[in-house]
Amino acid sequence: MPPEGASSALGLDRVQRWLQAVIVHPGCVADALASAEARVEVPTKAIEEVVRPSWSLTAVERVEVYHGMYLLRMVEALESDFPAVRHFLGEEAFAELVRDYVERYPSRSYTLNRLGDHLPQFFAEEVDRPDAAFLHDLARAELAATEVFDEEPSPVLEAEALRRVPQLALAQARLRPIDALRLLELRHTVVGHLEAAKHGRPAPRPRRRRSHLAVYRRDYTVLRREMTGDEYGMLSALVAGQPLGEAIGAAALRLRAARREETVFRWFRSWVAEGLFSAIDCEPEAARGSQPGMTAASRMG
């Protein structure tokens, strides 16, 4: 039962709960003031017992200033991290998305930088939305970029260090990825949309086709690499800690191409050159005898 008047025991906690409930309400300010969350603290008609009118604005209009700025701030934060989602949806639909998103996943952090962490999850929950599956993929790609942007720097495994690993140890060696690396397997192509947003071109129509991306950071610049499913499979296996020899063997078996070994080695050299690994761990006993995959692995450096 809401109190009859507001002023009787209007402590700081009630004032704050009330103002926040009004500000973050997704509807207009009149709906916000009449919402159950607001009325439980301050009856709608008692607003002037809480907020004074000014020489130029009513109490409601003064609250409306804060109410309007809240959504603008959330839109601004999310469009800077998800420019391709914003580009695809357009201004109005993006603002509606943000209104719904922050109602379900409001900021609980001291930083706005992680406001969009749940956006892919949000789209996954939007089962009735026809573009949800595509937007889920697009949001994953953009979220990955924000994550690698902020990751701690890692040392980078140089090709020279790889060459110093004894050949006998290579097959059982495991590679450690840099922290600023995310591997994405997607149900749609998204690179065209990322590029369209970057260059201000019209967004293409969503296309359902499996695609694979590595999103990573090199020299404080966020980069991405489109990969085939086979390349993604081998890189994922290495990132998951599979020994080098096993990963190479499995990848080579999957490839149908005549020059499959060359393809695998080209991928690997390229990953090392891009700085995707931070270290290589060798088991000392592996160096004592010949191991499966050793010959192939020894060509990696």
Partner: protein, 281 residues
Amino acid sequence: MSRNRWDHPDLGLGVGLRTAHFAHILSQRPELGFFEVLTENFLDTGGRPLFVLDQIAERYPIVMHGVSLSIGSTDPLDFDYLRKVKDLARRTKAAWVSDHVCWTGVLGRNTHDLLPLPYTEAALRHTAERVKAVQEFLERPVVLENPSTYLEFTPSAMSEWEFIGRLAEEADCGLLLDVNNVYVSAFNHGYDAHEYIDAIPVDRVCQYHLAGHTHKGTHILDTHSDHVVQEVWELFGHAVQRTGPRATLLEWDASIPPFEVVHAEVLKAAAWREREVSRAA
């Protein structure tokens, strides 16, 4: 004129460090007294912002300015956040750490707005106790900025300047006097900006902020998106006559122009400061 209570140095003229100006600052090394960094932008990153900040901190004094301390909130203080603030202050050798007299959320939420407090005795006691706890944790005095506000609470029992002045005395903290905010709030609430400035305890003022705003006719929004208006320059001059020279920072956070434009505004602030200080001497 007097020094501030902690003998914080007059760092001269500074600007807020913004991503758009990183390249210019690193390559041109502009003549400035200090940079102010938005604390939260550097707390959870090991990426380029921190890499750039480390380089800038080697060449310029740094002051940290936060927006999520939420010192007036009825939610518990966030000591995880404060630990990170303390670590960043050590890393950058920050001359001081500031935030706002406001609250940003309750019930675990953050609205990311600097929301006004009712200026009551209870709110004053509550906020002063929290300031003391924060200062004890950070092992340094904090500096709090007067907010720009768009509403006043009916239960308020004192003016904003009385609240802020008493808060500084009771919690023994410093003040960051944002002259544009005084102007904005004075317009919005219909009070005298000079009366506000004259009531601020001089020895608590560690820093000034200057910025542009957006006039909506019925109210002014503190948007940091334009040049400082003449009335704010004059108010700044009036304040400097009282306090003497204090570190003075120009904020420009929206529609950010090339660094040269911001720097030209800083030079204008330097001229105002010099003229008013010599006039008061």
